[in-house]
Symmetry: C4
Subunit: 193 residues, 4 copies
């Protein structure tokens, strides 16, 4: 029962985060090319963050679905993840409005890194509670490896932003591809449950 409400609250917050980003798209003052052009970096950032948060939603969905018991620690680990995710619209807008300024791109990378770490902590907490269930523990461990790899990629994206923002962009893309599909093992495990 508690799990249902945790899912509902997380879904609500993630749905709001993904949608309010559009409020930060400022309409151009005219329909001339000069005014429309600055929209493109902003839209690119919007699309990227939309995909990132979409991936988190999908994986969060699978992760919580696999959980059997929710405790206070998990609730707060989840809240911690939502906190960092909630800052994504801010970093997205900043990166877009400054047309991929190095510092803004690095801040965005730091933020995604924090989201990744928060997800990892939530994952570890769930693993600890479900360590007796080998059918679940295996795939979660696999997710943990993915989590560490993506945290590494995000960390690399921070200094990379100062060389060229595009390198960070490519690193984000790698993480996206890595997580795109939720872990099929967890999916299968759910089916068997």
């Amino acid at each position: 029962m508690t799990k249902t409400r945790l899912e509902a609250f997380s879904d609500g917050v993630i749905a709001i985060i993904i949608t309010i980003m559009v409020l930060q798209l400022k309409i151009p003052h005219s329909t001339s090319w000069v005014d429309i052009k600055p929209l493109f970096p902003v839209l690119t950032c919007y699309l990227m963050s939309f995909i990132m948060i979409g991936i988190y939603w999908g994986n969060h969905h699978h992760l919580i679905h696999a959980v059997e018991q929710v405790n206070s620690k998990m609730l707060w680990a989840n809240m911690h993840l939502l906190f960092w995710l909630s800052l994504v619209p801010f970093a997205t807008e900043w990166m877009g409005e400054t047309n991929f300024d190095r510092i803004a791109v690095a801040v965005y990378a730091v933020l995604l890194d924090m989201c990744g770490i928060a997800y990892f902590i939530l994952l570890k907490m769930i693993m600890k509670t479900h360590s007796h269930d080998p059918a679940l523990y295996g795939p979660l461990k696999k997710q943990g490896k993915k989590g560490m790899l993506s945290a590494l990629l995000y960390t690399l994206a921070i200094p990379a932003a100062f060389i060229h923002p595009l390198i960070s962009g490519i690193l984000y893309l790698c993480v996206a591809v890595l997580w795109w599909m939720p872990d099929r093992n967890i999916e299968q495990n759910i089916k068997n449950h």
Copy 2:
């Protein structure tokens, strides 16, 4: 189970999209007619987008309700649809603020076209997974025809905006009427299920 959360997330995002548009209505500086007048195109655009998104919600509702199994591909086809829908408030505001400027109306038409195509892709994906179920496949095929027709009308609305924005408006209205009532066949099929 997964279906419930997909419905809940989509409902959440669509509810937010339809509601945050009101945040873009800027209150007039005074209560004189000169300041109130520019509100009318903005309100007209708001009403139109409200109806459009309302129609998507209704049909999406019926479509997902008919689904028996959700997979990762469907999840992403749904996310793709939500992405284009999420840009509707932006295009609505732009069209309203510029008092139906040709370019803004054309951009709005392109956006609705993308929403239509995304809905069509989601529909096709669901059809492929449920091809073994003739009771469902028939009405979905009918929806597919409607989808193609409305995509055609939206595509026509793009060049039409450069002749006169009103022609685009009438084309949008035709699509609205076309989709107004969710497919009764699907509705009946659900009842028999």
Copy 3:
């Protein structure tokens, strides 16, 4: 099943409407009394609209809960109600920012009138579908009477705003008191179901 999603969507939209109003509270430029003073009419309007929408939520809750079957017409009557409710934050902000200007108060009265009429239409539509159920029909009829009375009060509030905005305010208060408690008969009927 359809009813659950209608409830969820309406709840979502109403929750967003009631909450985004706070985004329109502009923080004062300083902490001096001159800058804080204009906040009071804005906060008064916020409180009033919060109560009004809270009442709609409570009654909508009871109304839909009593429904046994949802059809497309009801879906659109509900959408119609949500459209007018969604404009409440806009009218609230306008009334507050202009410090109860006569025209803004009258526009607010017109809007509440439209909400009342939309609720009345939804009620009538539900009554028509459930006319065979006397246990439900009776209390709905009673709600219909309340609906007509409050529409009358809102209509009176429109010209009253031009005499003195306070008269409109008192009329709104009367409607609030009238609807405060959801119809006990419906509540009891639900218990017997």
Copy 4:
């Protein structure tokens, strides 16, 4: 059934409150240190309010979950709580933008005090309805004591803001620690139910 919708509506409103606060983070005009520096008090306030609302969500969750019957009075006591919570983003922004101005910090303390009192009223109302259930009544009484203590701390934080805003901050922290973990007794009681 009514309880489910009350939970869903409250979750929706709280999820929106916690998330829209991010819309009030204004992106810096440049990436220079001078422009980034004022972000820190704003982010600190955001974090503090995020934790405060997170605590309310967790406890509200536990409180409503323990409820067996919902009546109109509870509905309005809940609405009253949501009203004060909905003002948190406004006070948070004000406190952050003024870099912890004494008056803004005091207003924030008053607001948290009102939230605390509203929670206490809701608690008392639920206690009255469930006074026959000793297993539930005991832990609720314990929560009531915590509620009174935290209201006292918030009240102290009001004058403290005029001595030094940091004292208020420490008092808020004490309340946070006090409520951090939802009452284990209620949790256990739920398990036995």
